[in-house]
């Protein structure tokens, strides 16, 4: 299995005749961690087979930066299901080139699972990959978006926003650090007091404590 050439692994995905075969083939292809697998893994995101899509997202995630441009391009397509999975992969990878897409998805997508994944993704960006001069403004934008997402109607999206804010607060650029931390602290304290869902209050409290803001 280990030494099978990528082309034959790709072929196995294309020829899979049952959902289970497909899942196995996608897992094998993902495990190869080979850039040539990217187009096929992207295609799998649109197959409406959740098990296979999860495996493909994992495969794209380990490939990291190389998978980002094709994933961003994939979003132009009109396959809604594939779009949701692509957002999840981008959220996992954390490449700042996906910032604009994640901002949009976190605040405006109609599917709560997409908003949830995008909110988490905004906290997961690796800012060292961005030109340093651009970082403070980009982070301010991400904080603003996540603060907005803490008002989402769905509890789980607010939960993801709190998680996103916590991890973003831990990655702030020195230039804007204090200002942004203050905004985050203020909102988290409000959520502890006033969110109608006990789990959100608790998660906000945990975030404040992990950020040393209590």
């Amino acid at each position: 299995m280990q030494n099978q050439p990528v082309s034959s692994l790709i072929q196995a995905v294309e020829q899979a005749s049952s959902p289970l075969d497909l899942l196995k083939a996608v897992r094998a292809l993902a495990a190869a961690r080979h850039p040539e697998a990217i187009p096929t893994l992207l295609e799998v995101l649109g197959f409406n087979n959740p098990g296979a899509a999860v495996a493909a997202v994992e495969g794209l995630t380990v490939l990291g930066a190389e998978a980002v441009p094709p994933l961003l391009k994939q979003l132009d397509d009109h396959n809604y299901g594939a779009r949701a999975w692509a957002i999840r992969a981008l959220a996992n990878i954390g490449d700042p080139r996906s910032l604009a897409v994640l901002l949009d998805a976190a605040t405006a997508d109609f599917a709560l699972s997409v908003r949830r994944a995008a909110a988490r993704g905004l906290g997961n960006l690796d800012w060292s990959q961005m030109a340093e001069a651009e970082v403070p403004a980009a982070q301010a934008q991400a904080v603003t978006a996540l603060l907005q997402v803490t008002h989402d109607a769905e509890w789980i999206v607010r939960y993801a926003a709190v998680v996103g804010l916590q991890s973003l607060a831990q990655r702030l650029h020195p230039a804007e650090k204090e200002a942004q931390r203050q905004r985050i602290q203020q909102r988290l304290a409000q959520l502890v007091e006033a969110d109608p869902v006990a789990s959100i209050q608790a998660r906000s409290q945990l975030a404040l404590s992990e950020l040393g803001m209590q």
Binding site: I156, Y159, V163, A198
Partner: protein, 286 residues
């Protein structure tokens, strides 16, 4: 169990919604409920529950609707009664209890199911004797489920209601359903016995049974077990919940159930170690 009721709701909301417009006012909804257009009546009942319109006139009109004879399905069901019972559960007004207890004697399986669920939500002990009677099949004229004749009664709903109401006197009866051929009913029994167990050790054995159910081959049953574990907030299930093969959304809802039970039980403002662990699992599922 939801198939019949699901189609009925979409029927109500597609035709009637077009007529009513998306937004109703409370007065309109009550007027529709008392009116002669059957699909609007069903829609208004659903709407009052959905938006939790806790209004005396709404409650009174819904209680009247529990005795409706106009709206019948081909199979003899009572769509309006079903929706009225569901709505009354959500409105939380104790005035509905005795009418809902009467509805437990309805010939329509889904009316009895909705009534049992509503009585569970209302949390009123007065319904316990009748729930037990129905669970024993001692109420004449009650027809089995049209889709699943083995379900002579909505056993899972009855058992869950008795568990939530803390009906210790029904313990042996509920335990007899642990081997019921329908797995969902077994899970309901485990969940309910967990709630009325006399000590932690006894409770644990039922909680663990639901953890085992998380590895059932059928996704639908794993989902059912997730919902049951969430309802009882069984903390030792946290890791198994995070790892079971089901949608992350459902796992997150289940873990939220565990977390909030734990938050309720700790009196301090300090987060417990267990709460933090549950949240860490939730974080990984976003």
């Amino acid at each position: 169990m939801a198939s019949d009721s699901g189609s009925e709701n979409s029927r109500a909301s597609s035709s009637a919604k077009a007529a009513a417009g998306d937004a109703l006012t409370v007065e309109q909804a009550i007027a529709y409920l008392k009116g002669s257009d059957l699909s609007l009546r069903v829609y208004a009942a659903w709407w009052l529950g959905r938006f939790r319109i806790n209004d005396d006139h709404a409650v009174a009109a819904l209680i009247d609707a529990l005795a409706d004879e106009d709206d019948r399905t081909v199979a003899g069901g009572y769509p309006l009664r079903r929706n009225a019972a569901r709505a009354l559960g959500k409105l939380g007004d104790q005035k509905a209890v005795s009418a809902l207890v009467d509805s437990l004697g309805c010939s329509d399986f889904y009316v009895r199911e909705a009534a049992a669920q509503a009585l569970e939500m209302l949390g009123n002990q007065k319904s316990v004797p009748r729930l037990i009677q129905l669970l024993k099949n001692e109420v004449p004229g009650t027809q089995p489920s049209p889709e699943q004749p083995i379900m002579i009664q909505p056993y899972d709903a009855l058992i869950e209601a008795l568990g939530t109401l803390g009906a210790v006197e029904a313990k042996a009866l509920i335990a007899s359903f642990l081997d019921h051929p329908v797995e969902r009913v077994q899970y309901a029994a485990a969940r309910s016995l967990y709630q009325i167990a006399s000590d932690t050790q006894e409770a644990q054995q039922y909680g663990d049974r639901l953890i085992q159910a998380l590895s059932h081959q059928k996704l639908q049953l794993r989902r059912a077990a997730l919902a049951d574990l969430a309802a009882i907030g069984y903390l030792p299930a946290a890791k198994a919940i995070a790892e079971t093969l089901a949608e992350n959304s459902l796992k997150l809802i289940a873990l939220k159930g565990l977390l909030e039970k734990e938050l309720q039980q700790s009196d301090t403002n300090q987060l417990s170690h267990e709460s933090i662990q549950v949240m860490q699992l939730m974080d990984t599922l976003l």
